[in-house]
Symmetry: C2
Subunit: 920 residues, 2 copies
């Protein structure tokens, strides 16, 4: 709150004054611009609307903007208060402003010889694209059209008049569009053409007559021939459109207040379709795809803005640098209109410098004269965003802080995964949740086993399944990408895939999978195992066949930006990694430690699972010890490898966590295998497996409850950590092992298990005659742990917030079971933000705050981290920074995102002064 | 804390002074008593130990206590500090005290002619039964034994000497008992007898010689013949026993501090086995079974205290009032020793008056002289407790507050369920958890269906099953009692059975049930369906055959006590009741409303479940509406009946809560039935059923999530409530319906559903042209709801804490899945108190506090209740009183418990002054 207030004063007085003085002495309500000057400026969005403020700013700094004026948002409120009437003062102000526009453009509104035509457009403080109405070509009538015929040709003039009548009938008079469209269609049919542009001047003239008749017939009054009447009709209609149902709904959904209302921009028309010396186009001050500092854009000769958007004609490159493969042969603006091009280029550079941002500019050339219609911050790819930000720092346009804050941390994801070539058109047959970005091309397989088998012989496969489970990990590893019919953004498939940096589309409900028969139906398509499909994990689209992919790479700029981020941030960034391979990836991406090494994933390896099953199903402690003895060297070697990779950095090993049932055999073959190994029969194995089944495994016999009931398992794991650490330390590596005890709900659990761990550590150190420092801590993932954090901190060197489970328990919502109600929840706005993606600050966040306060209160040296999925989410990272955690830990591919997000959080926390550079 | 401090001052100074002055001027360390006076008193337990303080008190008020003295607890600390040495001052004090004992008893310690024999016993401030050692008959030696032979006979003397040597060898010298036992056994064998009492004086004399030799051989020194050496040896040993491993462990488990240590009581021996003018016995000042104000007790002629306990001889009644069926023919003390009896009776009355409590007194008559050895508060049945408390108020011995506080609220349970006749011996074949008290006798059935079928033909059955589910409710209703192999004190079976007031034993792991074959193995017993068994739900015991039961009834005293409770308490007490029948029971037990009416239980009725299944499996909204239309009149009639019964009192109806899966068909037959009703095939029903299966149903699609996704279901339920309320109100009944929305985690859920409910209510009121007031509120059962209670309170007229689910989520522990780890958790002291039985104040309680504060902060008129299982638990009720809830709601049979517990909580809260009557 404080920071927002500190940043506001520059704008507030302007925003507030008109509202306060509304009923007393009216402040300026009509703001003129054009001809290199303006009464308003960019920071008056609240009063002039976004568009009006921008036009004013452009004019003010001397850009060739068609002259016009803005009726302020204050009038919108007055208009509503006065029930749709305008007071004489306003009419006088508008008339004066209109006259000034005419002078600036060398024309006069309503003049039969040299008529000024204007547009009336809405422009609210917050952009509401497509929600409100616009009317063009106002000022045309039966009298003026002649002058226009003379100056711009017959076809152009009649077409402009036709458009005015149709728009006016719709927006101002509220007549149904269908009748007008029917007449237009009849005209096309009569001429035997498909497009309006193919109609002749005559056709259009007849149509105008026809339209005028239609208006008179429908309204009982002729179409207004007085330009002033047209103008005020249009202004009233646009103000009214502020409260049309669509706009009201849009504001409701987006939390936009009703007041201030919209501003209205009345601006002289300019035309890019007045012949071959006219043109229209769009340009960027830098390449929006690569960020390269080249002037970039497209144009069309003798065309209007809509034509560029409509895609009927292929736009031409404005210069050689903008030329793409499919535009060879098309002439550039630079060649065809060199003077206009040079001016455009010069002005673009000024605009970028002025706004200190890459600009996306709309321009029109009317009979050789360049007009700028709009400029705004240009959208760009993630790669371009990085390049531009770094370049602008070097060009001294912006500071490093600003560069860091300009990049959407989430978008870095695009830089880290192979992706589809965007320039290739695609035909999606289904769309699911974009669970893990990147692209995957491969043959469909319907089981983890098939994925592994086919991958072994070198085939690229896409694993398609209803949903995945820990049993499928090997198959997911083997596949190029994963496509599931069920589950959300944080389903098993999604989480694991993101962890692997592997493309995944989850919850694609259009799939009807019949795995047994090896096929699936997707809409009208029947896809068999072996058919090739392509996934776009960034958009959630599924395509038939193989689409080409591109491999992004880290540029110098990326590396440089990251180094700035590392200097700016306070939060350390670690990674979740279960294997040495993951750890290497994480380290490459800049992780400063492993925040979560899940030992259970190691247990699922094919050559280990049997020993794990023997362990769980052992009839007695002796058999259990035998199984543990087999597992110990495997775990030890896992840890040793990870410690090697993470030389000098901390590694947090979480002791066994999941319900034991997850490890147990399900198929008859597996049961037979286990029965043989244990020297017992299948029936008794089956009954043991049945006995471990739980109603709510999430809330069952798992986490430290396993450590309490089977202390020998935790003891083995602690021994493996300690022996590995000693071994690696002797080889000269700096090891910083941390042992994390999961699912603690009661201080005594941690007390007992810490005792056990300390005992085992001492035993190992005594055996090996050396010692390493091992920190012992716990996950805070059960609400009770957060609430009793002071008592728990007594036995913990560190806390790591396991916000996945903490969210599930705090919400009372299993993320595996949300399919039935999540759509309704999103639709009714209960879960606007998925709490499994962005931390729920009111609920889960409240518990985190409590735990931080109580934990640090009891033990000031307590180290605090977060290792849930939220560790890679920028909003959640900002929260972690605010509550004062020491680090976040996320999947390897999210480490750069977290580094940047942490930097942005630190910059935001240091106050707006530093972030915006504004000084008072 | 404050209250404890306020009550302490009377005792504290006494407890503290010795500790403080330990090293400077020693306070009195040896406290004499006997002969109608004493240096100590009852409130010096911390200094004199419980036993010592009690003996002093008895002596002080003139009771005939064998003279003796107490060595204070302070000496225990000194003894440890001095590493087992005694200072000369202490030795002198003891010698003086011993001399005084001798004078009082007319004997002298170590005197050959008239030896004083003493016992040395420990006596800590907090009773630690059996943890420390005692030694009797000290003072006997080769020399004195002659005098004893002369005065008490040869057999008595040698036996006493033998006992001394054996005890001394064990306790003081630390010799293994086995050798002494072996000699004793050899002596019995030689004589050809089975009992020590059958040995002759000669045998015992030989044994003494033998023992003396054994001691000398084992220790290398003769058995100490000096009485002083014996005494100090005994004192040292008893002090040392304070730190024996058993005692240390016991203190650890019971949270008893190490300091102050134990006191030691040295007391003259008296004997009830010195001939036919000697006796020993136990008496109560009132009948401990009924509470009747009659003098009650048992005695044995020429016997020692152990003999009464050992049960070798049948004790005789002390008077006619104490005579039981199996003691006819045995002479009473009143007849045999009328003088001693009259004195005993007189003294008992004085003791009761002095302590203002029913007393349990041990006495010995030595050669016609009555000695009192101990008095303490007498244990009694629940019925007796009520009777005594009420009588004592009438006798003006105690105040009503005190009467209320003297009854263990939990024990009222015994008064409310039929129970086994305790006087009939039983032979338990297995023991489970005493899940719901009372008794049940019936034929074993292994399914709910069988239970219902057999009950229909009038058979009494006991339902035996692995565990129960909501499907089994009808069978549980039909059965006399329920016995399950799995599940804990709060398993489905236990909770439902308690709700029904039905006997239940849960988690009886000895059962090996083969339901398919209709039999079970219990240890060596094979029990078939139809065999009769008896359950004791109060102890958890299972017996073969039919044992007789007794039906308790509410006495006048009970009713009177309850009326006092109702006046004393602040908390209202409501009941959880799903049917009119339950509601009637609840009202009879004094419920002031229904706090939780679960609508889902109504759904399980056989004639409704099909409609419910159609509803859930409906392919579209139309089919759903048809099913709802069938359910509406049924629900409406349920509610109308309950409103009738609860005329004038509030009824909280909870809208549908459980996962829909629970209602779905499982067997083929059921699926066929549903398929027919829906006009579809079994396969599609099966696939729908499969689709609703959840990984963690507790955290799945349930509670208000059903209301959000299927608003028509909640709308039907609201309509049923409103229509029923209007109908009943028109009939002149006062209805106070409350609608409760379950499982709210986010304020917006409640906002939406409240809107829906309000709409539907208005629609009904408009239709019926009348209105009743309907409050709408929510359950707080998800941690997030508690954390965001301020926002939720905006839409709630009331909160009801659903502490069952709140505990599960706060602990992250499903109560259905604790079987695997609960034993280990109890053993390691993590869950000393089952959080599902007594509210977990640190965790769940913290959330309740937060919700109360935030909820009332946002809406001061918010009504607050609790409707989890905790609503019937006295400790939890005290918590509810402290945090300021308005009411608790519990199962009907617990209503009286809750009423009393609420009164006790209010009395405790009003301060110790009022509770104890102490004034400063």
């Amino acid at each position: 709150m404080t920071t927002r207030r500190r940043s506001a004063p520059r704008k507030r007085p302007v925003r507030r004054k008109p509202a306060r003085s509304k009923r007393r002495s009216p402040a300026r309500r009509v703001w003129s611009f054009g001809d290199g000057t303006a009464e308003g400026r960019a920071d008056q969005k609240s009063l002039l609307g976004g568009k009006g403020a921008n036009l004013a700013e452009m004019a003010r700094i001397g850009m060739p903007v068609p002259a016009g004026f803005t009726i302020s948002t204050q009038v919108s409120d007055e208009f509503r208060a006065a029930r749709g009437r305008f007071d004489p003062d306003l009419r006088a102000d508008v008339a004066r402003a209109l006259e000034r526009v005419g002078k600036r453009m060398g024309a006069r509104f309503g003049d039969a010889e040299n008529p000024l035509l204007v547009s009336v457009r809405s422009g609210a403080p917050v952009s509401m694209p497509g929600m409100m109405d616009s009317i063009l070509n106002l000022g045309l009538n039966d009298r003026c059209v002649g002058a226009l015929i003379e100056s711009a040709g017959e076809r152009f003039a009649w077409d402009s008049y036709r458009r005015l009548i149709q728009m006016y009938a719709d927006v101002v008079l509220g007549l149904p569009q269908a009748r007008f469209e029917a007449r237009l269609e009849a005209a096309r049919d009569a001429r035997g053409v498909a497009l309006d542009t193919e109609l002749t001047a005559e056709d259009l003239r007849d149509l105008v007559a026809d339209y005028l008749g239609l208006v008179e017939k429908q309204t009982g009054r002729p179409f207004p021939q007085k330009p002033e009447e047209q103008l005020w009709g249009a202004i009233g209609a646009v103000f009214r459109s502020w409260n049309n149902p669509r706009a009201v709904k849009y504001r409701e959904l987006n939390g936009i207040p009703e007041s201030p209302g919209t501003a209205i921009n009345v601006q002289a028309m300019v035309y890019g379709n007045m012949g071959d010396d006219s043109a229209t186009g769009v340009c960027f001050t830098r390449d929006p795809a690569t960020g390269a500092r080249v002037f970039f854009g497209e144009w069309l000769k003798n065309a209007q803005g809509e034509d560029v958007v409509a895609g009927i004609r292929t736009p031409q490159p404005i210069n050689e640098a903008s030329r793409a493969e499919d535009t060879h042969g098309l002439a550039t603006l630079e060649v065809e209109m060199p003077k206009a091009y040079r001016r455009l280029h010069r002005l673009s550079r000024r605009l970028e410098k002025h706004y200190r941002e890459m600009q996306d500019i709309e321009f029109t050339i009317q009979r050789g004269q360049l007009w700028l219609l709009q400029t705004r911050t240009g959208k760009r790819s993630a790669a371009a965003a990085v390049q531009i930000a770094v370049d602008m720092v070097k060009e001294r346009l912006i500071r490093r802080d600003e560069a860091l804050c300009r990049i959407d941390a989430r978008s870095l994801d695009q830089l880290l995964h192979p992706m589809l070539d965007d320039s290739v058109p695609r035909d999606a047959i289904a769309r699911g949740l974009p669970a893990s970005p990147g692209a995957a091309v491969g043959a469909v397989v319907f089981s983890a086993e098939a994925a592994e088998a086919r991958a072994l012989v070198g085939e690229k496969v896409v694993l398609v399944t209803a949903e995945t489970s820990p049993d499928d990990i090997h198959g997911m590893h083997a596949a190029e990408g994963i496509l599931t019919a069920r589950g959300g953004m944080t389903s098993h498939a999604a989480v694991v895939a993101r962890g692997m940096g592997k493309c995944c589309i989850a919850g694609c409900s259009a799939l009807e999978i019949d795995a047994a028969r090896g096929l699936m139906q997707v809409g009208s398509h029947l896809i068999r195992a072996g058919d090739v499909i392509t996934l776009d994990g960034t958009t959630g689209e599924v395509m038939l066949g193989a689409l080409p992919t591109v491999l992004p790479e880290f540029g110098e700029s990326f590396v440089e930006l990251m180094s700035w981020a590392d200097r700016a941030r306070k939060l350390a960034v670690r990674s979740n990694a279960d294997t040495a391979f993951d750890a290497e990836t994480a380290r490459k991406f800049g992780a400063e430690g492993i925040g979560l090494c899940r030992t259970e994933h190691m247990f699922f390896e094919p050559n280990r699972i049997l020993a794990v099953r023997q362990l769980i199903l052992a009839p007695d402690a002796a058999e259990r010890e035998r199984a543990l003895a087999r597992l110990l060297p495997m775990q030890k070697s896992d840890f040793a490898q990870i410690f090697h990779v993470m030389d000098g950095l901390p590694v947090t090993v979480r002791l066994l966590d999941p319900p034991l049932h997850e490890f147990l055999p399900h198929s008859d073959d597996e049961m037979r295998e286990v029965a043989e190994a244990l020297g017992t029969d299948v029936a008794s194995v089956r009954s043991r497996v049945e006995a471990t089944r739980e109603s709510n495994p999430m809330l069952g016999h798992r986490g430290c409850r396993i450590g309490i009931t089977f202390p020998e398992i935790y003891r083995m794991q602690v021994r493996a950590v300690a022996e590995a650490a000693c071994e690696v330390a002797e080889a000269g590596v700096t090891v910083k092992p941390e042992i994390m005890i999961p699912l603690v709900a009661h201080p005594r659990e941690l007390e007992l298990l810490r005792e056990l761990a300390d005992e085992e550590l001492e035993r190992v150190f005594a055996d090996l005659r050396m010692r390493v420092r091992v920190r012992i801590g716990t996950m805070i993932e059960v609400p009770r742990a957060a609430l009793t954090a002071d008592a728990i901190a007594e036995f913990a060197d560190f806390f790591s917030f396991g916000t996945n489970d903490l969210t599930q328990m705090t919400y009372g919502m299993s993320r595996d079971d949300t399919a039935g109600f999540l759509p309704a929840y999103v639709a009714s706005g209960i879960l606007a933000d998925d709490p499994f993606v962005s931390i729920d600050e009111d609920g889960v966040g409240a518990l985190v705050r409590v735990a931080v306060e109580r934990g640090r209160g009891a033990r000031p040296t307590l180290k605090l981290g977060l290792c849930g999925e939220h560790g890679g989410d920028p909003r959640s990272i900002a929260f972690c920074d605010r509550v004062g955690l020491d680090y976040v830990s996320c999947s390897p591919y999210r480490v750069p995102i977290a580094r940047l997000a942490a930097a942005q959080a630190a910059i935001a926390a240091s106050g707006p002064r530093r972030a915006t550079g504004a000084r008072r």
